[in-house]
């Protein structure tokens, strides 16, 4: 029962981070700030959600798979963030603060 | 209210949006997107029709049909996109 509550609050906190990231994505002025908001919030939010869900898992195998999913999503989102930033820099996007 | 009602109407709306887009969109790539929306809408209808109130398990046949439809659609999309690439190249060459 206690475990359920801990898991639920972890997931809820994760969701808050996602919302923050989304607000940042929509409100921040330029691409790098947006990326920062998105990837930071995403990474942390996902970690919290994954941890919360892992607490609810039935078996060790399930926990392992959830952690694996978290690892690969984090890896992919970091790479994507890097690619977007790199492309923006090459196209000279960062100079324009409007 | 049950999920099948919600998603059934979702599917119909998506299909209609795709249909109108396919008929009205000017841009070639956008028309492909519109057709893809139509196929997802049709998929919704079949998946919804297969759904049964839990704990009953859903009818597997429409699921298989939708998987077939998805593979067929990606094939058709690939051919349409190849035609778009070819046509755009031919038109660019003609402009030069």
């Amino acid at each position: 029962m206690l475990l359920d509550w801990i898991a639920a609050s972890l997931i809820a906190i994760g969701a808050v981070f996602f919302v923050a990231g989304t607000v940042g994505l929509l409100r921040f002025p330029d691409i790098y700030c947006r990326l920062h908001a998105l990837t930071k919030a995403d990474g942390l939010g996902l970690a919290l959600v994954a941890f919360g869900v892992a607490l609810l898992a039935d078996s060790a195998g399930e926990v392992f798979r959830i952690l694996l999913i978290w690892f690969f999503v984090a890896l992919a989102s970091a790479t994507c963030g890097h690619l977007i930033a790199r492309y923006a820099r090459q196209s000279g996007e960062g100079d324009a603060h409007d | 209210m049950t999920p099948d009602l919600i998603y059934g109407l979702t599917g119909i709306a998506v299909f209609a949006i795709g249909l109108v887009g396919a008929l009205c969109a000017q841009d070639r790539l956008r028309r492909v997107l519109a057709l893809k929306l139509c196929s997802v809408g049709a998929g919704f209808i079949l998946v919804v029709a297969a759904w049964r109130e839990p704990p009953a398990s859903p009818d597997p046949v429409p699921h298989a049909l939708v998987i077939t439809g998805i593979v067929v659609m990606v094939s058709a999309t690939a051919v349409a996109l190849a035609l778009i690439r070819r046509l755009q190249t031919l038109e660019a060459e003609a402009d030069e």
Binding site: E93 | G8, I12, V14, L29, G43, F44, P60, V74, V79
Partner: protein, 326 residues
Amino acid sequence: MTDPLILFDLLLGVSVVALAVAVMGARDLFAAIVLFVIFGLLSALAWARLSAPDVALAEAAIGTGVTGALLLKTLHHLRYVTGQLDQFAAPGMTPAEPVPMGVIAANAAFCGLITLGLAVAYLGAPQGGPGFDALVAEAMPQSGVEHPVTAVLLNFRAYDTLMEVVVLLAAVIAVWQIERGLSDAPSPDLGQVWQGFARLALPAIVVVGTYLLWKGSEAPGGAFQGGAVLAAVGLLLLLSRAYVPRPAHRGAARLLFVLGTGAFAAVALLVTGGGRVAFQYPPDQAKTLILLIEGLVTISIAVTLAALFHGREPVALPSRRDHHDT
């Protein structure tokens, strides 16, 4: 006593429809494609919610993943051809003129009319009505596999599935034909970080794809989902230029495209005899035959999807040799 998840369903349904509108309405084509990918993933989520995990997997992997890659590749090519490659947020191929309100209103009305008509018909149909449930349940013990969707795809309605891989084969032949001699847009330099990611992701994708295929006989997954995931390996190899298709590879590629369809059709024909018709596997060999077909079809699907992404038939460079040789 409403299920609290209904709220989630409502939210998801509305977002899916809103995303569909956004895909059609977005000014920038790149944005439209990205919105489409989100749309596809949320649809897959809805299907998972409707207890259709196989379909959700297929939609996420093929309908959204592979299709999204194809769309982005095409957009890249179009921008290259029209010289818009350097622009960070280039507009679509057509000049993005504001659409008159009248047109939007007419489209919306048309759309609403179709929705209304179909919705009336839909609401009149029996909900959770008749289906194949009983027939499938009755036939499952003889199917040779434990997962009903796989049984339908590879046994009960294997003919449909064979024709589905035939469609895939037709697509790759048509694409090779259409794009013969087409020169490709230069692929972007993706940098060190991406290369590292690719190196790390490749083995993982192979494992996941094989796992999906293997699980298919008893749990959601199977040849199509596994094949699509394995196709990602091909996409990574092509994008990182770790593999560059050469003219010498054409024969092997042809064989790989045909492998799944050929094996499937051959098995379907070879099991006939002794009163059995095509596709009627002997009950004691059904599982082996289905696994054999699934394995080979997975290879073909993976290679074909990757080839559809690559597009043109690999020809000797320089590729300006498609003139009539009469």
